[in-house]
């Protein structure tokens, strides 16, 4: 399948999620490179949104804009979600492999691109009173994304509805735990380093 066809297929997943995710998993139509492409696309549109969204809805302080931030707000949560979901579902009899989770999550983010780009254009011609449309489309994008993520998780792991919802909520908890452990780890490493350094100073200055 060529890349164009794969991208066309990802659009099919977006509008027909039940059918699309099924084929994604069992017909092997999902491609990791498309998922990563979508991730890249979301990152880029978010950067564009921060910079070029119309002045009426754009409250960013220009000097504080930094594209590296998108790593923090998009790439890191994406990876965190996939890792947490994988860790959790391996314990909860999920059928999905890590690759499946990456692909399902990646494809689910496509609506964010589809909504964001026209929304950025729209935001440049609307007034303050019409800005609620902008926010409406924005939330439609997010809801669509969550809906796709739900179908994706359900299909990939072959869960019931209740189990899918509880898994998704638990994944958020696990994400929190991972962040906590990460911070703890870094703080401990920092203390070890400073301890070793103090020890070194103590020895070095004792000549």
């Amino acid at each position: 399948m060529s890349l164009i066809k794969e991208i066309k297929y990802s659009l099919h997943v977006t509008v027909r999620p039940f059918d699309g995710y099924w084929d994604l998993k069992y017909e092997n139509k999902g491609r990791l490179r498309v998922a990563l492409l979508v991730l890249l696309g979301v990152t880029v549109t978010m950067i564009l949104k921060r910079q070029y969204a119309g002045y009426v809805v754009n409250d960013n302080y220009p000097l504080s804009l930094n594209s590296i931030n998108e790593l923090k707000y998009i790439i890191l949560p994406f990876l965190l979600w996939c890792i947490s979901n994988w860790s959790l579902t391996t314990l909860m009899d999920g059928e999905g492999k890590f690759r499946d989770i990456l692909i399902a999550t990646g494809y689910a983010m496509l609506p964010l691109i589809l909504i964001n780009i026209p929304n950025i254009l729209l935001s440049n011609v609307i007034t303050l009173r019409e800005s609620s449309f902008y926010y409406l489309f924005d939330s439609i994008g997010v809801i669509w994304f969550v809906w796709l993520l739900f179908i994706g998780t359900k299909t990939v792991h072959q869960y019931s509805v209740i189990k899918t919802i509880s898994t998704m909520l638990l994944t958020l908890v696990v994400m929190g735990i991972v962040i906590f452990l990460g911070l703890l780890f870094f703080s401990l490493i920092q203390q070890i380093i400073s301890f070793v350094y103090t020890l070194y100073q103590e020895v070095a200055l004792r000549k």
Partner: protein, 479 residues
Amino acid sequence: MKVRSWLIVLAASLLISGFGHNVSYGAPYEGYTYNYWGNSVKSPIAFLPSRVITGNDAGTGAWQSPLDLYAAHNGLLYVLDSGNGRIIVLNDKWETMRVIQHFEHEGKEDSFLNPEGLFVTESGQIYVADTENRRVVELNPDGTFVRAIGAPESDVISDTFEYFPRKVIVDKAGRIYVVGRGVYEGLIEFDSDGRFTGFMGTNRVQFDPVDLFWKSVSTKEQREKMIRFIPLEFNNADIDEGGFIYTTTADKNTASAVKKLNPSGIDVLRVNGEFAPVGDLSINRSSFIDIQVSSNGVYRALDSTRGRVFTYNEDGNLLYVIGQLGNQKGTFKNPVAIESYGDAIYVLDRDLGQITQFKPTTFGGLVNEANRLYSSGKHSEAATLWQEVLRLDANYEMAYVGIGKSMLREGKYKEAMTHLKLGNDREYYSRALAKYRREYMREYFGIYMTVAIGVLVSLILWRRIARSRNERGARDVAN
């Protein structure tokens, strides 16, 4: 050899740039304002110190911890020399006209005891908050005693109420408002006959959910040691020509450090800017100790944390900041009172016992004048002055907004949008955008529709042709 000549050039240039540095820091403080995002941005200095007067200069001997100042409508400056218990009246040349120290009260000689507040009515009647004597004294312009108003008497006041009047203001109808020490109920109001009529303008209790949580989980003993939720007390007040009372609160956490009370005691202060008038937006906030309302709604608040004077217009936009704590001329040690007369600002310093007079610079004068025109609705006249302001300070957001609004009225929507964006006024930007959009569409709607319809028609045609060709091809294959 080459290296050495390079070094000499380098040293010389460093030296010259160093000199330049010193020259540009002639003023004792830096000018700044806050931008839309709450970052401080540099601004030209609006007022510079022009004169300093001490008690010795005025010929009355040193002033001992003077606590209040009043600039009367006729240009006389009244200084309350609290430590010596006297009032000094200076004329506009800063010569002592009168010293009021003793007055005859019920046949005996009476005097003040640590008075903290002073007010002079338009007719020249002097009101003094005679703090330690627990009374407000009214004097005639020549210093003769008229009456003394003692502690408020009413059923609503508890027996443990301690009356220490700190500041006093009098409105045009002769009603007297007193700021009392430790009085949380608001301003104490007396009618023109000196009878207590009630409290007005009580500060709301500050509610903090976090505190509430800790209170609910702590034991009774712990709770007793915590700070109690009490409303904040006012520490100063001023009254404007329309009878609105401006009050200040010293608390650093309140969002309404300044209040504008209408006659029924409701806060009607306008806050059009992004931030309420609270002074500095840093973590260690300002605490206001005096406020002064000058003409057309401009008010100045004196901050005791860093010794700065914040000037706001009637919409609550910060115009400029002057002053600082320090040891130079134009800086203060312990500023306690602020007044203004004409275009000059006076700040009274308690520890140094002196008054500093500030006069506007070109920039300050321009801002004042532009703001005056702007608030009286003369937008196009104001716009030309705002242009001048921008030439001196390209960071001045109010100037962009002023120009933008005037352009919006003149129908220059595109330029108005540019200026309103620079001034960060989204509401007016949006109005300009709506007008511009309509104008743009009226002009280009025909062209866009022609192109769109053309594209649509050719697309349909193209598809139809392609389809018929396919069908023909299929028929050929079938045949």
